[in-house]
Symmetry: C2
Subunit: 391 residues, 2 copies
Amino acid sequence: MLNFTFKNQTEILFGKGQISEVPARLPANAKVLFLYGGGSIKKNGIYDQVVNALKDAEVFEFSGVEPNPSYETLIKAVDVARTNEVNFILAVGGGSVIDGAKFVAAAHNFDGEPWDILAKGATFENPLPIGAVLTLPATGSESNGNSVVTKKETSQKLAFASETVQPQFALLDPEFTFSLPPRQISNGAVDAFVHVIEQYLTYPVNAPLQDRFAEGILQTLIVEGPKALENPEDYDVRANVMWSATMALNGLIGKGVPQDWATHMIGHELTAIYGLDHAQTLAIVLPSLMKVQAESKKEKIAQLGQRVFGLAGAGGVGSEHIIDDTIQAVVNFFEDMGVETKMSDYDLNGDSTEVAIDKLIANLEKNGMTAIGEHGDIDPAKARKILELSV
Amino acid sequence: MLNFTFKNQTEILFGKGQISEVPARLPANAKVLFLYGGGSIKKNGIYDQVVNALKDAEVFEFSGVEPNPSYETLIKAVDVARTNEVNFILAVGGGSVIDGAKFVAAAHNFDGEPWDILAKGATFENPLPIGAVLTLPATGSESNGNSVVTKKETSQKLAFASETVQPQFALLDPEFTFSLPPRQISNGAVDAFVHVIEQYLTYPVNAPLQDRFAEGILQTLIVEGPKALENPEDYDVRANVMWSATMALNGLIGKGVPQDWATHMIGHELTAIYGLDHAQTLAIVLPSLMKVQAESKKEKIAQLGQRVFGLAGAGGVGSEHIIDDTIQAVVNFFEDMGVETKMSDYDLNGDSTEVAIDKLIANLEKNGMTAIGEHGDIDPAKARKILELSV
């Protein structure tokens, strides 16, 4: 096992009705930036519940945070927060809104161009505190310090991370997910699945408990994900998907083990250039990455196949088949969740896959993603090979 | 899944050499109560490493905290802390020392008789902050707010819990466990195993991720526990046992599911009256409790047998055999770890088991433990039945 430090400061408020716990967790004399997305929360009743929870606070609403939140939108929210001297951000939505809240929080007291926080790793001080009301289980953003923001002007999708912008509390009410469109449930389950894979599917370092935890999340997503599509108002199923997605990326399962994240890095470029959903990009990249990296990942791919997909009989340990069968099982899960796994399944703004791959590789190079993966061995040539297997 | 709130504020510093992280985590102008046990840390070099980490602090040592820490000893430590106006406690040891530190921390600014914190649930304010240097993986005390203290005068072993006394940081260096006597490794693995069981072996509430996490810890302990006895200086094995014991009782796996804890409550009386090691008492009580509660626990006992002990073929779902076989597998694990499972295997101060059972039941009643277990259905008559199966 590798050395690590670990703390997760976010208080989880899990279950139906837990929004009643929110008011007690706001600061005194709360001046709250209420940040949300496209307005679906006004249709499903969540907006009214949040307004009620904020009834003793001074509230400034900012809506319109889009999927893959953009710098161009968020900088307007920074302006609202500064102008009104808010002292708290309540982010109501999925990972995009919560990621956006982290950027607004970090930019709030930052002198200079806030994009530098992402582009240059600029340090910031005294970020605004954040609370999260999660409506879409997927990214884990509700209890980690990670944020990904896209600058439309330059087609850059970049990340920053700081525990100082991690939400102080996260409300996870499974009922808040009942009205989600199927595509968002599909994307969320695939996203959480790949978050686990990025922290699990590397090489063995004799860390069996981390392996078991990762496998437990994967097993739960594989069983509960399809049920969540079939029975949108099954409370327990939604609860299980929600808790799995949070545990997938709250830092725990990746401690003491190598991590990969190359699928994310390559996938980010597909979103930056072509606007694909984040999960769609992961479903395109991961199976091909597993093929290209099969040699260095073989022990963990076999373990995934045997323990998670029950493939022990289909080839056996040491067999060539277990690698192929496991990759196919991953593809099957993505497709069962309704997420297609080839670039040609999606609209690439009319580009051919050949043209697209050239653009994607150029963007990876521009963003310095030239030595990614757990061994740092995925250079642009290898990334190209991965994408060529994904057409 | 049941509703829950969850936060774990303890920063884990895991791995060899991580003691170098401790000085930066002490308060400014640190006046530290350095609390430890019987002095083994002076033989294995941990004492010197701790003294070095505290070299910029004013340090007041208090040694002699015993296994099952006593009120009578700890109240002297409270006096040392008060007299010297310390502002931090560094607990160096296993669960007993860390539990003891929590009592000292709570008592520090408490007006009145500190035993009331345990006996009457008296509230306390401004406890001293605590750091933990773990030398014995077992209780999970290093990252929870639980404390169990024994008053020798009255043979009472009582618990209190508050997140305000949870350690701010916990150093887990597997090398610090290399020199442990086998009995302590045995006890620690059994203790951690039963902590998981108390949060797992109840009744199904459709919380599959919690089940998988619990099973993952149990599987790891079953594989790594015996190896830890065979190869005391295998770093990874010790690391895996250590991380499993912490995860067993840091609050995570018990969230959203019913909990039992009757094995602990009955076992506590065996320690209070006869001074048995905590883990020994659990090994005596649990198998009999599983027999007596087999009907209400049958689904989870079968799941334990199938998933953790691989008993799927030995009777099958719905078979009578799976219950008996699983209980026997638990007994086998305890005995493989060198912990005996019958009262008659231990010295009961010359009492017969009949006399002992009378005394134990009387003590349970005195301490108000008359409706324990996840259904509150273990009354003194049922507790007697459990103990009668444990002779």
